[in-house]
Each structure stands twice: as C-alpha cells, then as structure tokens.
C-alpha cells in the first residue's frame, strides 16, 4: 500500500518513482542518553532496499541491527533517543514524523516481525482478535469481514484448520505456530516493506525453513521489500540479494550477497565466516573464533572499532587502525562492494591467509579461488 500523498506533512519529498528504492536510509545515527553515558548504538548508517529485494543485516548482538530497524518504524521513544539522518519510506521522511503519521505507516506500508513471538502477541486476546484488529486499524470493515481476513491470513501462513484455531489463545499454539501467527499479523495489510528481526533464531531448522519459504513466497507475490536481520550467515546466503555487515553500530561491509560472502574484504566478516562450521565442510577443521569481546558503545574504540580484536592490524602501515576511522568505500572489487578497512590488499590476504584456514576444502590450490562446484547442489535444481 503506498502512502496517500494528501497525508504528507508539508515539505516532504515528492512521491518516489517505482524504480526508486522503497527504503532509503541516509547517515542514520541513533544515540541513547543513559546513566552511564551516551550509548552510540548506530552511527552514520546508510543503505537502500528496492521493491522485491531482500537486504540481509548480520553482526553480533549489540551491533545495532535492531536499533537501526526500529528507527525505520519510528519505534524509539523520542524523549530518550537522539536520532539524526534521514529515513525515507517510498519517498516520505520518517524521522521527525508525527506519531499519528507513524501509526498510519506502521503495520500498513511497513511491518515488522520480532524475534520473540510470545512477547509480540498479547496473552489475553485470541490470535484471531489480534490479527483482525491490525486489519481494522487500517481498513474500514466490519468485524466479520476482518475475521474472515484473519482466517485467510492464518491459512496462508500454513496453520492447519485456520477457521478452528482462530479463537485460540497464543499459549495454545506451539512455538512455530506462534511465529507464523505473528507473521500473519505483520502481513495482514500486505506491507510494502517487511522487517524481520531474527525471525527464526529461536526455531528448529525445519520450522525455520518453513518460515523462510513463507517470507519468500509472500515477497514474490506482493513485490515487497524485505530486511532480514540474522546472525545466521546461511540464512543470508540463501535469502538476501544484498548484505550489510554491522560492527559496533556501523556498517563495515556492504554489497551483493554473493560478493560479500565469497569475496569478503573486511577482517570482521572473515571472522564471522570462520566462526561457523557448516554442514558440508571439513568436520575436523578447527573453528577460528574472533578473539575478545564486542566493543563498548559507551566508549567505542578509537580508529577502527574492530582494532582491539583484529589480527591484521600489523599489515596496515603506521598506527592508522588505532587512530583513524576507515571510510566505507569501494575496494578493488568495484562500486558495488563497500568495505570499511585500511587494508590495501584484502583480496590477497583473504585468499592466501584466511581461506586456507577457514575453508581449506573449498580452495582450488592453483588459483586460490573458491570452487563453487564443491558446494553441494546443482544451480539448476534450485
């Protein structure tokens, strides 16, 4: 559903062209004043998401993934948050928009799926009431019509006998069913932008796969833009068109998913890839953990925020890593692959030092390149 132009407060940008990105985030900075000081949760973050495309955001907990996405929905309490930058949804500015206007956007053109379904659903209302309520806020329909819509949605997300389960309370649903009910709630108004914040982290692989299928089907049907926040690189690999790696509140690598996961150029991304075993790799290979702990956002490290944990600091001349924040700029791999790191020859280091350690079975010994044929499935079958 696009936003009605007549509702735009004065001074807003003209409605975007359909080819323009549906979501544009520019220099977003989010700070929280607290007793201990100012938490710099998100700093100078920029990205875009096109209609029908999926952006994957990865990073360890506390890296600012949720805070940045909640800003898109205007979910931060203005009294306790300092927000700057620009967030445009279908051309319309969100930062500074009135709560009234945000409520119109939220759950209508933009919807969010939260990690924990149980906290997102109200325990005292039936599943059906909660879904139809979301529909009635944005549509002038009778209760019966809204309920019909709710049954339809539950059915779509694969709840068997939706008509009979509609009057159940959340605790009567299993974990996977609750997650699906929440997705039904998020999708009831056919949102143009869907933000899924770790939608499957707490779920079994089989349920996770069902939910991911569902997101993909719905995206295809409505050509929606999707942001999927996860710490599972496998999910990103299979679902996201573009990927952004966050560290300490900033984007540290950003580009096409295939680029980022097969030719990562930033040591933190290397660390993430080396930390996870996968179901097909060498079982006896040792995992390469990232040493140390995530940075403090009250007192972020100087220079590159990753420098206290980075094994490659010595390869950068002078004291640059400790003193100077690297810009997020294209490296050798072209305009569509941005990285925030001082290393001059990341491609070489990755091929010669990192890859042999994290995925020795995947390298062609002569070219030093990843061998795609070793990945298990024929692309035609996908």
């Amino acid at each position: 559903m696009s936003i009605d132009i007549s509702e735009r407060p004065d001074g807003m940008a003209a409605p975007a062209h359909p080819e323009d990105p549906y979501l544009v985030v520019e220099s977003l900075t989010v700070k929280f004043p607290t007793h201990d000081g100012l938490v710099q949760a998100v700093t100078d973050l920029s990205y875009t998401v096109d209609r029908g495309k999926t952006l994957g955001i990865v990073g360890e907990s506390g890296s600012g993934k949720s805070v940045s996405s909640m800003a898109v929905l205007g979910l931060h309490d203005p009294k306790h948050t300092r927000l700057s930058g620009s967030i445009r949804v279908d051309g319309a500015e969100v930062i500074g928009a009135s709560e009234d206007r945000m409520r119109k956007i939220r759950g209508n053109s933009v919807a969010m799926i939260f990690q924990d379904a149980l906290t997102a659903l109200h325990p005292f209302y039936t599943i059906g009431d909660q879904i139809s309520e979301g529909y009635r806020i944005h549509h002038r329909v009778s209760k019966a019509e809204a309920k019909k819509r709710a049954v339809e949605m539950l059915d779509r997300v694969g709840i068997p006998q939706a008509g009979r389960r509609i009057d159940d309370y959340p605790h009567q649903f299993s974990g996977g069913m609750r997650q699906r009910a929440m997705i039904a709630m998020a999708l009831v108004n056919d949102p143009q932008l869907l933000i899924a914040d770790e939608p499957t982290t707490a779920l079994d692989v089989t349920v996770q796969a069902q939910i991911l299928d569902l997101l993909q089907d719905l995206q295809r049907e409505f050509n929606s833009a999707v942001i999927i926040i996860t710490h599972d690189l496998g999910v990103v690999a299979e679902l996201a068109d573009t990927t952004m790696v966050m560290y300490g509140g900033r984007a540290v690598e950003y580009g096409a998913t295939r680029e980022i996961l097969t030719h990562p150029e930033m040591p933190y991304s290397w660390g993430l890839l080396g930390s996870v075993p996968d179901v097909t790799g060498d079982a006896d290979a040792r995992l390469i953990p990232i040493p140390g702990n995530p940075p403090s956002l009250l007192n972020p490290p100087t220079g590159c925020a990753f420098h206290p944990r980075c094994p490659h600091v010595d390869k950068v001349p002078g004291d640059l890593c400790r003193t100077t924040l690297p810009d997020l700029v294209p490296g050798d791999r072209g305009e569509n692959h941005l990285k925030r790191c001082h290393l001059a020859n990341p491609g070489e280091i990755y091929a010669e030092e990192v890859l042999p350690e994290i995925a020795p079975d995947l390298i062609d010994p002569t070219t030093g390149e990843l061998i795609p044929e070793l990945a298990t499935v024929d692309p035609d079958e996908v």
């Binding site: 360890e60 907990s61 694969g158 299993s174 974990g175 996977g176 069913m177 079994d204 692989v205 089989t206 349920v207 996770q208 796969a209 069902q210 991911l212 299928d213 993909q216 710490h231 599972d232 690189l233 496998g234 999910v235 990103v236 690999a237 299979e238 679902l239 998913t257 295939r258 980022i260 996961l261 097969t262 660390g271 993430l272 890839l273 080396g274 930390s275 996870v276 075993p277 996968d278 179901v279 097909t280 079982a283 040792r286 995992l287 390469i288 953990p289 990232i290 040493p291 702990n293 995530p294 995947l362 990843l370 795609p372 070793l374 990945a375 298990t376 499935v377 692309p379 079958e381 996908v382």
Partner: protein, 400 residues
C-alpha cells in the same frame, strides 16, 4: 534384562551387558521417561502421560562424543537429565561403568555424581547471580571434598585458567561477565570434579556465533586434555557434526537414526534425518545463489501425549504407507555403525519399493501379521552388533 522398579534395586546380572566392552563408559538401554499430566481441580488425577523419552538405547565410549539432535520437544534435554539423574527414569537402564545408576537414591548417587556433570543451555540463569565465580566453581570442590579447604582457591584459579578466564577474577559476580565468559564459568564448574562424562545441553545455542566458536574449541580442548566423554545435545546440525564422531537423531522420544558422522551426514537413510539436513541453510550457497533444494516438511511435531501409531514420523512423512500406521519400525542395524528405524529405509531418491522390515516383524507389505501370529515387540539394543541387515542384498552380513 532385569526389571527396575523405583522401590527396590534389582541389579542387572553382570553378564547382561554383553556389549559393554572395556572402553564403554555409558550404556543406556530402553530408557523411558513418562511425565504425568494432571487434571485441574482439587484432586489432581493423572489423566495422561507425556512420553518424553520412550525407549532410547545407545552406548558411549570413554572419551568419545555422541551428538543428540532433533526438533524442539523431542526429548533431548530429558535424556540428558535422566543420565545426570536430575530426573528418575520411568524404566530402562543407565549403565555407567557397568552399573545401573537408574534406581540409585540420592545418597547412593553421591559418589557417582562427581563423575557425570552437566553444562546447561542458558549461561544467564544457570549461575547464581549472588555468588562470586570463586564460590560457584569452588562449591562442588567443597561438597565433594576434592581438595583440602586451603587449596580450594588455588584449584579454582587453575580451573579458571583452563577455561580461558583471568584467574584473578575469582571475586567477581556472573553479571560482570559476557555470555561467552559465563558459559566458561559453567564449564569450569563442571570440570571441577574431573568428570568422566559431560552432558552438554545446547552449550552454545545462546551465544553469538563469534563466541560460539571460542566455547566449542574450549570444549574440544578439555575433551582432548582430560579424556572426558560428551553427550552433546544441540539443534544446530553443523555444530554437532563438528563436535561429534557419532550422532543420534531423535524424533518424538525415540532415536530414529544413529551412526557415525560420515554416514549420518552424507548417507542419511531416515526421511526425517534427510529433511533435517536439507533444511539447514548453508553459507556456501552464496556462491550459487538462491535456496538449496529442500524437503518441505509439513505441519508440526505431534503431541508426545498421544503419539501417532506405528511410525511416529508418519504424519509428516512423504513416503508413509499403510504399514507405517500399523507397525512401529524397529531400529534396524543396516551397517557396521549405522541403525535406522524406517520401513522404507534408504538414501534420498533410492528408497526401496517394499518395506525392508517385514521379515523381521513377521508381517506382510501392508503390515498385517503374515500368518496370524502376533508380532513380537522388538527392543532396541545399545551399541552395534557384529552382523547387520544389508539393505542391498536383503540379508544378514558381517564385516568379516
């Protein structure tokens, strides 16, 4: 096999554990745990039972690792808690170093308790927030009189060092540590008693990926150094594959497939194992793009209060036939170190046309008793026999 009741101990005759070799540490035989479901009201009657664990058998060698995987609620944690005797078994045997610890009382368990330790899933709730790390790690040492009181602190510091924490931090509280560090404290506590067996229940699931790798490597190191055997419970198939040379797949309270890592991951013969493996997203897919070919499992795991008849997986199985509803498939050994419980056991796209279990069960292809005689109940045996049923030749084979 002897029958174990809760009132008296009837030790199994020593020769009953024929398969218990010298290097077997733990042998679990037909282990069951049924939780009563009570009615509401003043008089709370037992109206049903949750069959959380229903006849599980396996062995674990000294210093070895067995992985336990399966969907939420399939009975992994309950199995772990039975073995550590946090729960009393409903029936079955838990032979630890040749003795059934299932029927032991709290007091009788005391000397053995130090040898079987557990690491919990949640590093936040499993540590007492009001106790210092020194107290948390030192308490088991004191309770079991492991070291003279004067030497407790030195031992605690030694343990902290082993798990990669600063030994000077013994005076700090759990809240002062990160999730990964808290999990290390839990590991130090478990190591304090120099256990022979560690039951690790989702030891890294609550941690960030970058920290998971630190903890997994630590567990590997302590296993190598101290020769500890692991029962490693996790729903992350990649982590289990990485840690365990042997893997058991559970579904609704039963083991449906068990075998060496290579067989389970490369040649799974049970449809559920195949579905689980195909569902795990793979980073390498990035090089290809798009989703991997997957088996779409429909529906949820049925209730363990009233599991489906016959094969418990049949309500979600794309290969289910008449026999699957009528007969429970026995856990059949089909390789040197490979057992599977499926009437149509076979590799993906190569499942047999006719059930492979009919001879064993004495039934026809539809699962009806072939000459009117009732089907004998077949109990799973722990470990592997020297002979097995070869699926290709449809006959009993041995390695020699």
């Amino acid at each position: 096999m002897s029958i174990v009741t809760n009132s008296g101990i009837e030790r199994a005759p020593e020769d009953s554990g024929a398969s218990v070799g010298n290097d077997t540490l733990l042998e679990v035989r037909d282990l069951k745990k049924y939780f009563p479901v009570k009615s509401g009201g003043v008089i709370r009657r037992t109206v049903a039972h949750v069959q959380a664990v229903d006849g599980v058998s396996f062995t674990l060698g000294k210093g070895k690792s067995l992985g336990l995987v399966g969907e939420s609620g399939c009975g992994k944690t309950t199995t772990g808690r039975l073995i550590t005797r946090l729960y009393d078994p409903t029936s079955g045997e838990i032979n630890f170093e040749g003795h059934d610890i299932g029927p032991l009382t709290r007091r009788q368990m005391m000397p053995i308790r130090s040898e079987i330790q557990m690491i919990f899933q949640d590093p936040y709730s499993s540590l007492n927030p009001r106790h210092t790390v020194g107290t948390i790690v030192g308490t088991p040492l004191r309770v079991h009189n492991m070291v003279p009181e004067k030497k407790t602190l030195a031992r605690v510091q030694e343990l902290l060092e082993v798990v990669g924490l600063n030994p000077e931090h013994y005076n700090r509280y759990p809240s002062e540590f990160s999730g990964g560090q808290r999990q290390r404290i839990g590991i130090a506590r478990a190591l304090a008693l120099q256990p022979k067996l560690l039951v690790a229940d989702e030891p890294v699931s609550a941690l960030d990926v970058s920290i998971q790798a630190q903890v997994v490597n630590l567990l590997r190191d302590v296993q190598d150094e101290f020769g500890i055997a692991f029962l490693f419970i996790a729903h992350d198939l990649a982590i289990v594959r990485h840690f365990c040379p042997e893997v058991a797949v559970m579904y609704l309270g039963k083991i449906v497939e068990i075998g060496d890592r290579e067989t389970i991951y490369e040649h799974p013969h049970h449809p559920y194992t195949q579905a689980l493996l195909s569902a795990a997203p793979d980073v390498k897919q990035a090089a290809i793009g798009g989703r991997r070919e997957r088996i779409r499992l429909e529906g949820d795991v049925p209730s363990p209060i009233n599991p489906p008849s016959g094969c418990r997986f049949r309500t979600r199985c794309w290969m289910a036939q008449e026999i699957c509803a009528k007969q429970e498939p026995p856990l059949l050994q089909i390789g040197k170190t490979h057992k599977v419980a499926c009437h149509f056991a076979g590799e993906m796209h190569e499942a047999p046309q006719r059930p492979v279990t009919t001879g064993l069960l004495g039934v026809d292809d539809q699962g009806n008793p072939s000459n009117g005689t009732p089907v004998a109940e077949i109990h799973d045996q722990p470990g592997y026999a020297d002979t097995w049923f070869d699926l290709k030749t449809q006959s009993v084979t041995s390695s020699t």
